[in-house]
């Protein structure tokens, strides 16, 4: 499988204020069909994309937050959340949705998709990518 590349979607924007979060999630869903080695990184205001309890009703905008929970079904299982960004914003891991995937190799055991990483760890992961998508 030498033609499998490492793709990372780098999410640094809050949802709703701009469309970048939503339209980049659309890329991830389409990209899942390409059988590449995919990961998502959330840092800076991007961590806000994953918060629980989003209700857009009074803004008239479309609520797309439920889509993140479907990522496991698309075999997108590596979701890196950068810890400093959470800390700066007063967020805890528990403020984010609990995203999981089912591991086919372990009798469909449910596993966490979100992996908390430091800036240094995320930098190492980025250095290892073939392609980074920025929105």
């Amino acid at each position: 499988m030498s033609d499998v590349k490492k793709l990372m979607y780098v999410n640094r924007r809050a949802p709703y204020g701009t469309i970048y979060a939503w339209e980049s999630l659309e890329v991830v869903l389409i990209g899942a069909a390409f059988d590449q080695d995919v990961s998502l990184a959330f840092l800076d205001d991007g961590v806000y994309q994953l918060t629980k309890g989003q209700n857009t009703e009074d803004t008239g905008m479309k609520n797309f937050s439920a889509t993140y929970a479907a990522l496991g079904d698309y075999e997108v299982t590596k979701i890196y959340v950068e810890k400093d960004s959470l800390d700066e914003r007063g967020l805890l891991l528990d403020d984010l949705q609990h995203l999981v995937w089912e591991d086919e190799d372990e009798d469909w055991a449910e596993k966490d998709s979100i992996r908390l990483v430091s800036r240094a760890e995320l930098a190492d992961l980025m250095a290892d990518q073939d392609i980074m998508f920025n929105f």
Binding site: Y16, G17, T18, I19, T59, G60, M61, K62
Partner: protein
């Protein structure tokens, strides 16, 4: 209260376009007068009838058109900004030799003076942008 509202960004990309619409609707519901809504910069992109958003999403253009119909709103697209972004009515198409128009119902294209006039004639100017 008499209001002029300025919209600096296009639909969907920035929430500014949504905020402006929601604010306008609330002001009208409270009985205030909207003297003019002036679309500037990428804001002119709110005035194209060629938009087809997903069916489960709001239609950012049509709802302006509907609000304009209901309240006889004056929705003005800045001509200089519209020329740069390709928003065209019959007059502009003829002037600039374009083979199509895309302006939506309820909008008109006019000069920047309309923004100044709106601001001066109104009690408040409220600006929505990026």
């Amino acid at each position: 209260m008499k209001l002029t509202i300025q919209v600096n960004e296009g639909p969907y990309q920035h929430q500014a376009a949504d905020s402006a619409y929601n604010f306008a609707k609330a002001a009208l519901a409270k009985g205030h007068e909207i003297f003019r809504v002036f679309f500037y910069h990428d804001g002119v992109n709110n005035g194209t009838r060629l938009t087809t958003p997903p069916q489960d999403d709001r239609h950012a253009v049509d709802r302006w058109s509907e609000l304009a119909r209901e309240y006889e709103l004056d929705l003005v697209l800045c001509v200089a900004a519209a020329q740069r972004r390709g928003i065209v009515d019959d007059g502009e198409a003829e002037r600039n030799g374009k083979d199509a128009t895309n302006i939506a119902d309820g909008f008109r294209i006019s000069g920047l003076g309309q923004l100044i006039e709106g601001a001066v004639q109104s009690d408040r100017l409220v600006v929505f942008g990026d």
